[in-house]
Symmetry: C2
Subunit: 346 residues, 2 copies
């Protein structure tokens, strides 16, 4: 990969007991995949001594020091978003060795008893990735002035690969030499990109304002912006975040994401059914801003749960149903999807 390093970070990823789990270790896996160059070690004691994609896996912070990390990143989602006792000891061990800490969970590092004092004592910095900027306000219309093409991932549900799809598209665009920018809106995205806002942690009144700020900032970094989507338009729990993000980021184009085989909203106690792809295309387009009507440019299918044959069948079926170019950017590469998007760029 010819992309310049985004920082002088040398990450120790904390993934104790979960480094293999795609759900609980979403942040660990995202950073391993899209920010690999900044990772020097991963901590997961049951796998100590192994390595993954060339990254050594260690059992303790002491062992990790041989690889000279300067920052420890919380790479897993812990139960209820809180840190259980063992984890608190692990975090304290990190700062005691002078490592900065980055955390994307709801709970804040400063609220862990004793940790702020220990960090100060050892010159370590505590960074909560979900903490919104203090000076947010309502959207102003500046989103419509950004001199860039804005592409937002939207989806049939949460946790279907929206961030992965957009990271693949951004990587492919950068490989082609385009001034492409991944615009992160959630904690994993922020950990990968080293900037951004976790929009679901923002006060509702300022949600569109936060999304607007992200595309304005993105426009200073490039002219092809890939905005990480959140939730789904009819998600019973998170639809407000989805729509606020849609209107605040003012996309020209959508990439619609779906996971093959998913029929009900995940993590929704009411088990609400998911809309069909053609219903989703229509509803997302109709719900775009009156002054910035957005079209679905392509469909990104997550086919990880089915065979390659079934994946190709599902892709063909989605193209047949919607008339839109469809592919799985992880399994088959992002080339076709990127071509489809670029064809529609003014």
């Amino acid at each position: 990969m010819s992309v310049a390093r985004v920082s002088e970070k040398r990450y120790l990823i904390l993934a104790e007991e979960f480094s293999h789990d795609p759900h609980y270790a979403k942040t660990a896996r995202g950073v391993m995949r899209y920010r690999r160059d900044d990772v020097v070690a991963m901590l997961d004691s049951p796998r100590a001594g192994e390595s993954e994609d060339g990254v050594p896996i260690v059992g303790t912070v002491d062992e990790a020091l041989a690889f000279e990390p300067n920052t420890a990143l919380v790479g897993v989602v812990t139960q209820g978003g809180h840190f259980p006792g063992d984890w608190q000891e692990l975090l304290k061990s990190c700062v005691s060795h002078g490592l900065d800490l980055e955390n994307g969970l709801h709970v804040r590092l400063r609220d862990i008893p004793g940790l702020p004092e220990l960090a100060m004592q050892h010159g370590a910095e505590l960074r909560d990735l979900r903490e919104p900027p203090a000076d947010l306000s309502t959207a102003t219309g500046e989103n419509l002035e950004v001199d860039a093409t804005i592409v937002l991932t939207v989806g049939s549900d949460c946790a279907i690969g929206k961030m992965t799809a957009i990271c693949e598209l951004d990587l492919e665009a950068r490989r082609r030499g385009l001034k492409s920018v991944f615009v992160p809106t959630g904690q994993t995205g922020v950990a990968i990109a080293g900037w951004g806002i976790s929009v679901d942690a923002v006060v509702s009144d300022f949600l569109a304002g936060a999304a607007e700020r992200l595309v304005v900032e993105g426009g200073k970094r490039g002219n092809l912006l890939w905005v990480e989507g959140q939730g789904a338009i009819l998600h019973p729990i998170y639809s407000g975040v989805t729509v606020g993000l849609m209107h605040g980021s003012a996309p020209h184009l959508y990439v619609l994401c779906h996971e093959v085989g998913r029929t009900v909203v995940e993590g929704d106690p009411t088990e609400s059914p998911i809309l069909s792809l053609s219903e989703l295309v229509d509803l997302y387009e109709r719900m775009s801003l009156k002054l910035r009507p957005a079209k679905v440019a392509a469909i990104a299918l997550n086919t990880s749960s089915v065979s390659e044959d079934e994946a190709r069948q599902a892709i063909a079926a989605a193209e047949e149903e919607t008339g839109l170019p469809t592919d799985d950017p992880v399994r088959f590469g992002a080339e076709r999807l990127l071509d489809s998007v670029l064809k529609l760029v003014r």
Copy 2:
């Protein structure tokens, strides 16, 4: 009005310089209209000596004491949601006389220098109506279990009379002896009802959860719930709040609100055009929860800016366009609209 008093509040409404203004004094005017029995005086020094709807208008807190208020309510929206210098003196004068303070602005009373100390000294309580409950969480699906008919006002824009329409419908339903409940979702509604949550002040992740909590609480108070709507479905700034509230409150029916003559979104620097009534009906219905498809039962038109003849013409035109019963509940009474809603109650 035969409705029992909701509290032992004796309000002094603070409306300095703005008591006549329907926009800046939204809270003052809402409480005067829908909680008149609990108001003993209003403060607006340029009008001192006058009265309004039998409520004496005073120039100072000292003068107000003759009417034995126990609570001073901030009745106006001040510039930028902050309290300018004069207002800070006014608030201090209130607590110095032992009056509790209620405030629905973004800025919190506890952040006014010296005010908390003064309040403690004089035994006065400071209540910020926009402060969300500390224990909110994501929606659980309990909204679908509430044993009541839920009606939500939705609209073409902000500030078009959604709260007024629903207060009129609730009043009329209570006059008929129904177990009707106004469910407030904004600071003025909270001031009127004495309970509720300002949903726009809630963290985005918990928006639907807050709306759900409100209808669950409403279901304990009655079986016909009138939920105050917020924003508009394509409002460039507040749509996230609108949709989160729609899905969290899980209405069976909508009342669609619109102001005659309004063509662009108010307070939107981009001057986004407003959708037609028939587009709005269709979009709100399609955006309802898959497990709780909601229909627009009727249209509430705010005709305050036109003559009575023009009002009747506008109502007829809206009925012609949408095929839905339409009326101005303030100008012509809420009877017809309530009949239309009740016809659709299971």
